[in-house]
């Protein structure tokens, strides 16, 4: 029965599945290190998916397996409904932009862009026309006769982008393509790539270790750590409801406060947690919890509300107020760990001075309880 269902699902993928990418139970080991440990991903056609994680999280290994530069120990890769697990890269009809500049130095910019067309036996006149059009798409018309070495880093990556889209692949892979650029140029290119992706309707799988980049560009973000998929979802879901403690700490900032669950709770159900230091706080279970389970509470600094002392909630004393223009960060001494709270400039609350005693509260849904295993 389940096998039948599985097959039906696969066949439904094969219908109208242009640009879909599926990674199934991917496992990849290098010597005795497990780089990817059973990751499954479904990327929809036309979707912008970011693979986000620290170095060693397996994000690049997954991309290399999708591209065909590496092959899995077990698991499958499907592109547009085709099983491509063992197919060589040139047969997969993918576009790819690399981290380092990979324009061929012995060819002009235009020849570089025309290269994939030449490999596809497109006629000379046609490929020159299409290469020029692609060059225009990345706003570099007039640069066709230059050598790659005569272009700046940002220009080179734009040409690499033009080269990757000139043959209209349904899937575009990007391996940290902006990491070598400086901050302003990087932000400009992020917007440009995002616009181009919407215009072309191409599926993009974008590897990055920069969470801001992932959150601003992607429709969905897959967070990886130590070769395992932690969570996949829209940027807002990741930030508002991190599935694991790792995600809570990796995406944005979180305060962590150890405690013990005082009752059983289903996932996303409210419960009271006895915090280290003895106080009780309301929280929301990230996963099903049993009474007495050791948990860690994650609270975002900007979700900590400050009130006058003895107004309920947990007690805290201002240790330090760090002014940084648009925001002020308060370091608060509590009966547990030091908590960070963030105030926006122009906040109605008076700026608390160091030494002030406050009460700290938060909405139950802003404090997520993760079991400590």
């Amino acid at each position: 029965m389940s096998k039948y269902l599985h097959e039906r699902r696969n066949s439904s993928i094969a219908v109208g599945s242009a640009g879909q990418v599926a990674v199934r139970d991917l496992v990849k080991r290098y010597a005795d290190v497990v780089a990817v440990n059973g990751v499954s991903l479904d990327v929809r056609g036309g979707e912008f998916l970011a693979l986000l994680g620290p170095s060693g999280s397996g994000k690049t290994t997954i991309l290399m397996n999708i591209a065909g530069f590496d092959f899995p120990d077990s698991g499958r890769i499907e592109i547009s409904g085709r099983d491509v697990t063992w197919m060589s890269p040139d047969k997969r009809d993918l576009g790819m932009v690399f981290q380092r500049y990979t324009l061929f130095p012995h060819m002009s910019v235009l020849d570089n862009i025309a290269f994939p067309l030449r490999m596809r036996k497109v006629g000379r006149a046609e490929r020159e026309k299409r290469a020029r059009a692609a060059l225009q798409t990345v706003r570099l018309d007039g640069y066709g006769d230059r050598r790659p070495a005569q272009l700046s880093g940002g220009q080179q990556q734009r040409v690499a982008l033009a080269r990757a889209i000139v043959y209209n692949p349904q899937v575009l892979l990007m391996d940290e393509p902006l990491s070598a650029l400086d901050k302003n140029l990087r932000e400009e290119m992020q917007i440009e790539i995002k616009h181009l992706q919407r215009k072309l309707g191409v599926t993009v799988i974008f590897v990055t270790h920069d969470q801001t980049e992932a959150l601003t560009m992607a429709d969905r973000v897959a967070v990886l750590n130590l070769g395992a998929l932690q969570q996949i979802g829209a940027p807002k879901d990741l930030y508002e409801a991190p599935a694991t403690e790792f995600v809570a700490g990796f995406i944005g900032e979180s305060n962590f406060w150890p405690g013990i669950a005082t009752s059983d709770a289903a996932a996303n159900e409210q419960l009271a947690v006895q915090l280290e230091g003895g106080e009780i706080a309301q929280a929301c279970a990230a996963t099903p919890l049993r009474k007495g389970t050791q948990v860690r509470l994650a609270v975002r600094p900007e979700r900590v509300r400050l009130g006058p002392a003895a107004a309920g909630g947990v007690g805290g004393t201002v240790e330090e107020a760090i002014y940084a223009g648009s925001v002020t960060t308060l370091m608060l001494r509590t009966k547990g760990p030091i908590l960070r709270a963030r105030l926006s400039a122009g906040d109605e609350t008076a700026e608390p001075r160091p030494g002030a005693d406050l009460s700290l509260t938060w909405r139950p849904q802003d404090a997520r309880a993760y079991p400590t295993s």
Partner: protein, 289 residues
Amino acid sequence: MTKRPTSFTLGGRTYSPAASLLLATPFILVMILAFLLPLFTLLHESLSVPKFNLDNYARVFDQEVYLRVMLRTLRISALVTIAALLLGYPLAWLIARSRGLLLGLLLIAVLLPLWTSVLVRTYAWLVLLQRNGVVNQILTALGLVDAPVQFLYTEGAVVLAMSHVLLPFMVLPLYAALRGIPDDYMRAAQVLGAGGFAAFRHVVLPLTLPGVASGCLMVFLLALGFFVTPALVGGPQQMMLATLVQQQVTELLDWPFSGAIIGVLLAFVLCLVLIFNRLIRLDRFVGQV
């Protein structure tokens, strides 16, 4: 060759071009006294003895014997260069792609012959190729031939032995050129639709052309003046220019005529270097849509 005076820095101090010159002086002196001076003496003699004219040079081209030696030298050198390129490129590719122990072993395998005397390596070929040599014994034992085959003193033997002796001079520049190509170029070519061979032909090969050129030039030039191997493996039947010069000098004591042969060889080599130099620079500007 640089237009700016050359200075150098050491330990934070910059030294003047005069200091550079001072450091190079011993080398320059040796070059002048031991190389340029005798060479010019010889070339001068070739033009002025017995009379100041081009008679000695005319003799090199007039007499069929000498012309034949010259053509044979060119032909053998060309064949050796081609053989070394065909053998050396795959080997250099393998070395450039290997890591760790394999890399070390392969590099030693390439370099070890360089540290062994040419004479020793040539005698090894004599042992292999002679009438009762290893190769003939194997062929006879396998019943492939009835009588021992004449390998020694043939052009094939000379080409074979010289290709082996000169192989490192081809492999090392090729290895350096291949090593300088980042893996991502090959990957980019592949993902853009180039199969293994197409990626090699359109990306790797063009990027290694300077290495190919310098390897070929090096092997060809060394082959032109090679002495020991052709003399021993080729014998008098396969005489090359260097052997001819040696014969003229030690047996016939004809210094002026030797000078003329050397002059011809030198002029040829200089032309070749100039042409190659131009070609390597040109290839940067070649490309097509």
